[in-house]
Symmetry: C2
Subunit: 476 residues, 2 copies
């Protein structure tokens, strides 16, 4: 695949479509923010040749037609808060930012649906919905920065998947611009639909490689009036992992979240935020459990779950049932990534999923492999759905960058292989993008990869849209 460079003529044509104010071409400083996402490691940055900021599906359609004609690749971009390089313009070309398409078009109370543009910040939607007694449950923990469009492109997940699922569960309608510029409407305000193959869910999580979303219909839920958070220290990871499914089966309660934080993550996070949590001396891990519902439900349910935590071996249980105390616990959890970055500037943030009961086996392997290669592994994440963020840190801060990268590569190859043996895979919510593309053969077979390539070719025979992500050839 050979792409053409962006020429002054192409820039002029793009300018004609969307206006000069929304085309960035010769200003390197203004283009730098569009050259990377939030990946922790170095080496995932590529400059676009031109940045365009269209406002409508029609404009995007014209841009795609032009790109196909001129053989110039197009990389769509939401907020750039991704963690797998999906929005990075790997081949240069046109970077297409959805930032101006940021309207909440409709809040439909009669159907419990909203219609939004892709550039709406996820938590802005939830703030608007709260006023109506509603909420959008599919959000990831980056909700203050990320865009809904990016959430859909990545099929973003978060801490509440065990009860509420992830983004895809709530996507019922999409307006999509296809790689050749055709505009297609899929689905609508309907909760069930078996009208042919599920193109809608195929596009969800396609990481901007099959189409560009220009309008999104999402299901919303009545806002639960109350919630409470439990923090339960356990002597080790294993007892916490075993306690979780048992407490659900015995109580019949599905919590809104069951988060696991290992001792080292908690320690580094408390140090970073200058806070304390109880039982730091004895605890090998912590569970953070949220329940939500009506006020009565919540009170009954957190009492039931607290008892079951203790029966399951928890050292103690702390209840947060006011907004301030709930927020304190969640802020700790949400700050772990930042704390790890502060502790060790460059580190590998992983996103492995395994069957929840296999988490102890995976963590044992991560620790052993890390030791072998001079690294330290810490772990936190979504126990309820088996999706853990293992971070690989330098043990010796003077480890040379090249040696660090080699060590990470060596550990990941073995860790992904182990995850697959355990019935898991390499990404639960961060996606493949460019970062994990080369590791796909460690968890997927040739048949799956061939079918994925076949689907990509059906949607994008010219390989114009977001090339180098998920599948297909790499840049030379």
């Amino acid at each position: 695949m050979t792409y053409q460079k962006v020429t002054p003529e192409l820039v002029a044509q793009l300018t004609e479509i969307i206006g000069s104010k929304y085309v960035i071409h010769d200003d390197m400083e203004k283009m730098i923010p569009y050259s990377h996402d939030e990946i922790f490691e170095a080496g995932y940055t590529t400059m676009p040749e031109v940045v365009v900021k269209p406002r409508t599906a029609k404009e995007i359609s014209l841009i795609m037609q032009l790109a196909v004609q001129e053989k110039v690749p197009v990389t769509p971009r939401g907020a750039g808060s991704g963690l797998s390089g999906g929005a990075v313009p790997l081949y240069g070309g046109i970077l297409l930012s959805l930032e101006r398409m940021n309207s909440i078009l409709e809040i439909d109370m009669g159907n419990l649906m909203v219609v939004v543009e892709p550039g709406v910040i996820t938590n802005e939607l939830n703030r608007s919905l709260a006023a109506e007694g509603l909420f959008y449950a599919g959000y990831p923990l980056s909700l203050e920065n990320c865009f809904i469009g990016g959430n859909v492109a990545e099929n973003a997940g978060g801490a509440r998947a065990i009860k509420y699922g992830v983004t895809g569960r709530y996507v019922h309608g999409l307006e999509v611009v296809l790689p050749d510029g055709r505009i297609m409407e899929l689905g609508g305000k309907r909760l069930k639909d078996v009208t042919g193959y599920d193109l809608l869910q195929l596009l969800v999580g396609s990481e901007g490689t099959l189409g560009i979303f220009t309008r999104i219909t999402l299901g919303v839920l009545p806002l639960p009036p109350a919630s409470a958070v439990l923090l339960a220290p356990f002597p080790d990871v294993e007892s916490a992992v075993r306690a979780a499914p048992r407490m659900m089966i015995e109580s019949g309660i599905v919590p809104a979240a069951i988060e696991l934080i290992d001792r080292r993550s908690m320690e580094l996070c408390c140090r970073f935020r200058n806070e304390k949590v109880p039982n730091m001396e004895q605890a090998g891990s912590y569970l953070l459990i949220e329940v939500d519902g009506t006020t009565e439900e919540v009170e009954q349910n957190y009492n039931t779950l607290a008892d079951l935590c203790l029966e399951g071996g928890a050292l103690d249980v702390y209840v947060a049932n006011t907004p301030a105390t709930r927020e304190k616990f969640w802020k700790l959890r949400a700050a772990i990534g930042e704390a790890l970055k502060a502790y060790c500037g460059e580190n590998a943030a992983e996103d492995i999923v395994v069957p929840p009961a296999s988490i102890p086996a995976l963590l044992a392997e991560a620790e052993s492999l890390s030791n072998q290669y001079g690294l330290e592994s810490v772990c936190f994440g979504h126990l309820g759905d088996g999706n853990l963020h293992i971070h690989l840190l330098k043990k010796d801060e003077n480890m040379a960058p090249e040696k660090f990268r080699q060590a990470i590569h060596a550990v990941l190859k073995k860790l992904y292989t182990r995850a697959r043996q355990l019935g898991g895979t390499l990404s639960g919510e961060h996606g493949i993008g460019h970062k994990r593309k080369k590791y796909l053969p460690y968890v997927l077979g040739k048949t799956e990869l061939d079918l994925m390539q076949g689907i990509k070719t059906v949607f994008d025979p010219n390989n114009i849209l977001n090339p180098g992500k998920i599948i297909g050839p790499d840049p030379e």
Copy 2:
């Protein structure tokens, strides 16, 4: 596309693969049950040339390789309880029944997952799970007869989609035999997975046209300890439709089911079962609402919802909170289809979905079109998710069959067009199969159909697997 006939040589080869006991060839009587599904109308029956009953994925793989080589079509079949002709061998050829692959392979309490073969009867799974305090929530109302494999192939839905979603939400792993005989493993015991395109959910609902499922991993939930059912008569359909989202927003409660039964359906069903329900004189429609959870939750929630029903205009509210009374209400609901069949032997059972708030507009159109063509329309179904079963009955029982079919075709073309205008589509849970294939262009655009055809060709370039369903050419 020209297919070859099943030859004695092919029968011999099939017999060699699976044994003579599991190949039916010359016995018409034994083949008849495999020639149709449960469609209400006449004319959807085609005889297979041979019926095979394999026991393993390996056997199915060999059968598919043979079929491709010999250019003989293969139609996979579960319980045959479908309502769109998906399991009918439209081109003759090989009918592949999954009935012998009926084992529950594993109930995994530590991961809240089960692994089953496709021929397990859906409610048998739930009976096994109940003993462990678990349940599978994706089941349709035909749960006593249907197979899990068919549920996955159709992405079957049921009455509880508003809270629990449909089949696809619970499918986390599939072993699939592809049309060319390759065996592929997708997903596993994991609740999140964004490792490339979502082939798993593409196969869910593909109606046996992309692959044959041979092992299925399903998520299960803790069994709610309690439930209750409310029956609320409303003066008309419109007030019932308006009350439903309001009561959810005001209470923060998502019921397990919100079913709508129009006056005429209720009347015919009561007559059929020789039962009575209150308020038949004044009621224009009934809501059947189920809540589930812990005992305390259920009691609070049904009281809250009963009050909100009355505020929303219900004529009265009747609570069923014992197993016997709950079952009475649900049995009434579940018997409507049968009651309509008894009343009018041949009728068109439709499965339209619209945004819930548009249900009154759709029903008004159905009534007006039916009158125009000498038909009667009755309606019941899943209000919570906008998926309604409109049945078109003969008004005059002496109406000639050919005239009846023409009238149905005329009404459906206009009704589907109206459903699309309202933001809806033509099937929520019954699927396309052969029955609705010709109507797809009324609700889908050319772009979507072209992409679906492209995907079919990627999976099945020889068009060997279940041809004539969803897309592709029809038999001459």
